[in-house]
């Protein structure tokens, strides 16, 4: 969280504190949704994901802030795949809940654009 806050220029001292109520910046959800949520997509060999892609759009809904010590259960789903001729659009939703209570924490929805020609 500290490295993320520094890499993205979040200046609130609560993101980089050594102790106390250490909070995650809103954008930090990228680290456990886009990167780790996307890992399931790469692991699915039948899906055919490849690196000739760009990130089209990204949405986050925050139900409560993320804190140091949280244990989240994040479930990725493919919402949609649309063929647009020279590209395919894949929408990946990741529902992140508090692992202990099941309470929703963050919902992520991202659209990835895969170009047909592999690198």
């Amino acid at each position: 969280m500290r490295e993320y806050a520094l890499a993205t220029g979040h200046t609130d001292g609560r993101y980089t504190a050594e102790e106390g109520d250490v909070l995650a910046p809103p954008g930090f959800a990228a680290c456990f949704t886009v990167t780790r949520g996307g890992a399931g997509m790469w692991a699915d060999t039948e899906l055919g994901a490849h690196w000739n892609l760009v990130h089209g759009s990204q949405e986050y809904s925050y139900h409560r802030p993320v804190r140091v010590g949280d244990l989240l259960r994040c479930t990725p789903h493919i919402n949609d795949i649309v063929d647009r001729g020279r590209m395919e659009l894949l929408t990946l939703q990741v529902d992140c809940v508090d692992a202990a209570t099941g309470e929703p924490v963050v919902t992520s929805r991202g659209t990835l654009i895969f170009f047909h020609q592999e690198p």
């Binding site: 490295e3 220029g9 979040h10 910046p25 809103p26 954008g27 990167t35 089209g56 759009s57 802030p65």
Partner: protein, 139 residues
């Protein structure tokens, strides 16, 4: 900290301009775990990049938008929603300006909807203000 009763549609939050050099992209890759070679390998990027070279992570630009919005709101818990529509590619080394403008106020929910953006010097819409939003709860 901004207050709902002081807000007017058209108000802007403080802008920030940052130069995204290669070191910054590597730092973001390490922090986020996104090691797509498009963001650090010129040879690979030369084959697939829309600019023919290394480009910044869309999520780094969204992350800096998050910083501009959350630092203004004063508390990450006040940011209820953040969306980014990535349009123009952002070449490594580019100077990018980040900002936001209040476009809607909900008196009942006491929330402000902001159009947010990340734009290149030449006007390239890296995070496109026409379809990128932040919803912030205000006191």
């Amino acid at each position: 900290m901004p207050r709902f009763d002081d807000m007017t549609v058209g108000d802007r939050i403080p802008e920030r301009t940052e130069t995204l050099d290669q070191a910054r992209l590597i730092r973001y890759a390490g922090a986020s775990g996104d090691f797509n070679p498009l963001h650090w390998d010129p040879e690979f990027a030369g084959k697939v990049s829309p600019t023919g070279g290394v480009i910044a992570h869309g999520m780094l630009n969204m992350g800096i938008v998050s910083a501009v919005v959350a630092d203004w709101a004063g508390d990450p818990g006040k940011v209820l929603r953040l969306t980014a529509s990535f349009r123009a590619a952002c070449p490594v080394g580019a100077a990018v300006t980040y900002g936001g403008e209040v476009i809607e106020l909900d008196a009942e929910a006491r929330t402000a909807t902001l159009a947010v953006w990340a734009e290149l010097d030449g006007g390239g819409k890296v995070v496109d203000r026409r379809s990128s939003r932040a919803i912030v709860r205000l006191d």
